[in-house]
């Protein structure tokens, strides 16, 4: 320990200081991260392998039984769960590409210097980001309701009777979500576009590339990573569909039941039927679905990047 005392002692002091620094700076976040992310996730997995069973007449109360994969087989044969997943996937299949294509298009337009008042439009389009999904859904519900809605009236002038709250209800939700998320994604992509070096764009222009070619072959490839992140977040968000259907179902005769999306099913199982084990199973399956989709999108994006 003690050949050259002073430097080694101060070095160990520094090392200890560094270690304490890491513990104090990272510790609080990490502890909370464990408590609010990893532990609940593991807890959910644990719960999903058990179920409560009433023995005899049930006077003794329920007994906890190890259920192997029973809850999972139940979910995967439960028509409520399966149609919920189907709805969410269909919703995502419409919503995600629509949002991303619109956001890219508008970001490119705003970046192209072909637009007057670019800053004004950005601020304007960004506004819905500040309106929470619940309030956005409430407003749109009025704009969808026949008799209240000027939009329905507008269409019926032309003899077109649209019913936003019946067959097209999934599209009505897509519209609410696009309205809320478009501006944020435009700004995200626009920020990326602004970082594309001007010299690259000028060089392409001197080479005779038109605005369209510049947009799609020079600028767009540079922001693909941003687009990828935006897509990933949008997919994960769309799996959690909850607020919009919860609001739209308050309108009279709505086709939406209380297990319309996997999230609603998890809530209903937990708090209406007190079946926490099944609720946890549904939660785990949502997380798994998110994992699988993230993996696929990442693979796809990486393969595109390789080429």
């Amino acid at each position: 320990m003690a050949s050259s005392t002073t430097p080694s002692r101060s070095r160990s002091r520094i090392r200890r200081q560094r270690r304490n620094g890491v513990l104090l700076l990272l510790g609080p976040f990490f502890l909370l991260f464990l408590l609010t992310y990893l532990v609940p996730l593991c807890y959910a997995v644990g719960l999903s392998f058990f179920r409560e069973q009433f023995s005899g007449i049930g006077w003794d109360g329920p007994r906890l039984v190890f259920a192997w994969f029973d809850n999972y087989t139940r979910a995967l044969t439960d028509s409520a769960f399966l149609s919920g997943v189907g709805r969410v996937l269909l919703y995502g299949l419409i919503y995600v590409p629509l949002l991303i294509v619109l956001a890219i298009t508008l970001a490119l337009l705003l970046d192209s210097a072909l637009t007057y008042g670019r800053r004004f439009f950005q601020t304007l389009l960004f506004l819905p980001h500040i309106v929470p999904g619940l309030i956005a859904s409430l407003i749109w519900l009025y704009l969808y309701t026949p008799g209240l809605s000027p939009i329905v009236d507008f269409f019926s002038w032309f003899g077109w009777n649209v019913d936003f709250l019946d067959d097209g209800i999934l599209l009505s939700m897509v519209n609410i979500a696009v309205w809320g998320a478009l501006g944020f994604n435009i700004v995200l992509i626009f920020v990326g576009l602004q970082a594309v070096p001007k010299s690259t764009v000028d060089a392409a222009r001197i080479d005779g590339a038109g605005e369209l070619r510049i947009a799609f072959h020079v600028k767009l490839p540079q922001v693909l990573p941003t687009v990828f992140v935006a897509t990933l977040f949008t997919i994960i968000g769309s799996l959690q569909l909850y607020t919009e259907p919860m609001i739209l179902r308050t309108s009279g005769e709505s086709p939406i039941d209380n297990a319309w999306t996997p999230n609603m099913l998890a809530y209903t199982s937990a708090f209406n039927s007190n079946d926490y084990h099944y609720a946890a199973t549904v939660s785990v399956l949502i997380a798994l679905l998110a994992g699988v989709l993230s993996f696929l999108v990442t693979r796809f994006a990486n393969r595109r990047a390789m080429r």
Partner: protein, 311 residues
């Protein structure tokens, strides 16, 4: 994924992003381009998007001025015959024993307090991941980043059961604690720290004898200000938007968020039709001031994203 994990910043470019130059617009819009690439056509397209964005907000603005019967009759995009804003707002804050004010206060605590705590935690963690070497660092970091991909709502129900075991459900903590953890904030903070804080500066502070914590607060946190503001805004909006968590955790009306309160009113319209007016006015009273507040903030927001390496 590569980019989510990649914290190296690209070499600083000569021009600052965000400072939108006038650009070579005039040349681009010369007459040889097709009609749909002319300035007027492109501006018209953006204007359509703008009108689409504004319609619901304009509806809300007009709706606040209306009486209950007026909400159900006449054109949604025209103002009320009278001007009932003051009556509406007064009713909003007095109905049900003034519950709405309580909900606003709760939401402010959750959103402002939660976002502040989340920002401090994320910035400290991101800074630690960037500026310190320790064993298994990249593995721990990968674990945090994996948290970004976990759907939030999938954790809420098991979290509820844990909170119930700790007898914390139906307290403010049950909503507050989960809201102050944001793995994405750590990602942003690490990227920002690696771009903005030169290691030499920290060395200098250490040589001056400052401890690690003091160095973080006096040097690191100060430089990371703009990045921290971005994280704060993201988290603030995230909390303000969060509906599922309080729905699961809270049954006590006095702890509700505004969103939850409006939802309850909206679900009780059949018992009291006037709740419709309260829902509309409540939406406007909470949203419109926030919209005005965020218009000037939006610039910082964008600058933080650009610097933070969300590329």
């Amino acid at each position: 994924m590569t980019d989510l994990l990649d914290t190296e910043r690209p070499p600083r470019r000569s021009e600052r992003p965000g400072a939108a130059g006038p650009g070579p617009g005039r040349r681009a819009a010369r007459d040889s381009s097709p009609w749909w690439l002319r300035r007027s056509a492109v501006t018209a397209l953006c204007a359509i998007a703008g009108v689409y964005t504004l319609l619901p907000l304009v509806w809300l603005l007009f709706a606040v001025t209306k009486t209950l019967p007026e909400l159900y009759s006449g054109n949604g995009f025209s103002p009320s015959a009278g001007f009932h804003v003051f009556d509406n707002v007064r009713d909003l804050f007095t109905v049900d024993g003034g519950r709405f004010g309580r909900w606003m206060l709760n939401t402010a605590v959750y959103a402002v307090g939660g976002a502040l705590a989340a920002t401090l935690l994320s910035v400290a963690a991101g800074y630690a991941f960037d500026k310190f070497q320790f064993r298994g660092k990249e593995k721990w970091y990968a674990l945090v980043i994996a948290g970004v991909l976990i759907p939030n709502t999938a954790i809420v129900i098991p979290l509820y059961l844990m909170m119930a075991n700790a007898q914390l459900t139906d307290t403010m903590w049950s909503v507050f604690i989960p809201l102050i953890v944001n793995p994405f904030g750590v990602y942003l903070a690490r990227a920002y720290s690696s771009g903005a804080i030169p290691d030499e500066l920290l060395e200098a502070a250490r040589i001056d004898g400052a401890g690690e914590i003091r160095t973080f607060f006096s040097v690191g946190l100060r430089i990371m200000g703009p990045g921290a503001l971005t994280i704060f805004l993201i988290q603030f909006i995230g909390i303000w938007n969060n509906f599922f968590l309080p729905m699961v955790m809270l049954t006590d009306n006095d702890l509700f968020t505004v969103a939850q309160g409006l939802f309850t009113w909206n679900s009780a319209v059949s018992q009291n039709p006037d709740y419709t007016r309260m829902v509309v006015v409540g939406s406007a009273v909470t949203t419109i001031p926030l919209l005005l507040l965020f218009i000037p903030l939006q610039r910082h927001w964008r600058a933080g994203l650009a610097e933070g390496g969300v590329k």
